[in-house]
Amino acid sequence: MKVIRPEEGEIFDIELDEDLLQRNRELAEENRRYLNRFGVLAVDVMGSVGSGKTSLIVQLISRLQKKYRIAALAGDTTTTVDAERLRSAGAEVLQINTGKECHLDANLVKKALKELDLQKLDLLFIENVGNIICPADFPLGSHRRVVVVSLTEGPYVVLKHPFSFLDAQVVVINKVDLAPALKVDPGELEKQVLELKPALKVVRTNCLSGEGTEKTISALGL
């Protein structure tokens, strides 16, 4: 086989020093500044498929809609199921379909923000794609991040995904009504969360009945 050996002076070292995740973080900062300009507070919600993200947001919307003008971005790979649920709770909803992508990113949110009339809003919920892993690498520019874990995910969900809590301020432990059936102790999950990051606020909820919604609202400072 012919081997090509370059002469001196023909090889160039090019320092690119380009951080691909950092680019997303910069866009996220841009989104935050844009939201600030209109005085809109954004809360993004991440968690596994079926953890109760939509149910939580539905509860929050129904209790907060008298106090704030609310919109929601519903991130999903394909359907508009969640968006419909959020809309019937009383918020203006914009669907973001990622196709096959496993997370929302700051660029998609930026595009969605341009579609909203932010002057007419106070509060924006951003529901991420159901996934407790990937969204952690992609801040969106929200002011608060909520991670929803549920007892159906088992007793190790927190231990297995420590990085998912890095940017969060509030952790919601959902489906606490199922504790006896599942034999998963919400207190143990709470302990693990606080062990990981003591500054986190932990709330136990049942997002079907609405239990814990008020506590979530105060944990979010809303």
């Binding site: 090509i4 160039f12 070292d13 320092e15 951080d19 231990l159 420590p162 990085f163 990981l196 990051k197």
Partner: protein, 133 residues
């Protein structure tokens, strides 16, 4: 799980740069992956190889380095690594997001969350028209 899209972005960046500089071949691609990012280096390498097929970077050496996290404590000023709890039950090093010196939770993560294309090495045409940056 998003190794595919990140690798695609890395490949685009590398190939665009090599096109701009009229590179004949890309010899080396150096990528730094933060330990706190959710990217698996082996998967990144796999996708990069695929993305570079039939391109000037086809035979490039891929150097992927995992970078340890670095934090700054806002309380005591500690600057350095994060402590991990090695629990043999889970076969996994669980990070503790707090200062290893004073235990304060008020820490800022300075390093270890990124995915950086550090540099590339290219081979230009015989006449060596391309300019180094």
């Amino acid at each position: 799980m998003h190794e595919f899209s990140v690798s695609q972005a890395i490949a685009n960046l590398v190939l665009e740069e090599s096109r701009k500089r009229e590179a004949k071949r890309v010899l080396l691609v150096e990528v730094e992956i933060g330990e706190l990012s959710l990217l698996n280096p082996e998967q990144v390498e796999f996708w990069l190889r695929l993305a570079f097929e039939h391109t000037p970077a086809n035979e490039a050496e891929l150097r992927l380095e995992v970078v340890k996290p670095e934090i700054v404590c806002e309380r005591c000023g500690y600057r350095g690594g994060l402590s991990f709890k090695d629990d043999p039950v889970y076969h996994f090093l669980t990070p503790a997001f707090r200062c290893p010196r004073c235990d304060s939770p008020e820490i800022v993560i300075r390093k270890g969350r990124g995915c950086r294309v550090r540099k590339i090495e290219i081979l230009t045409g015989e006449d060596g028209q391309a300019q180094a940056s």
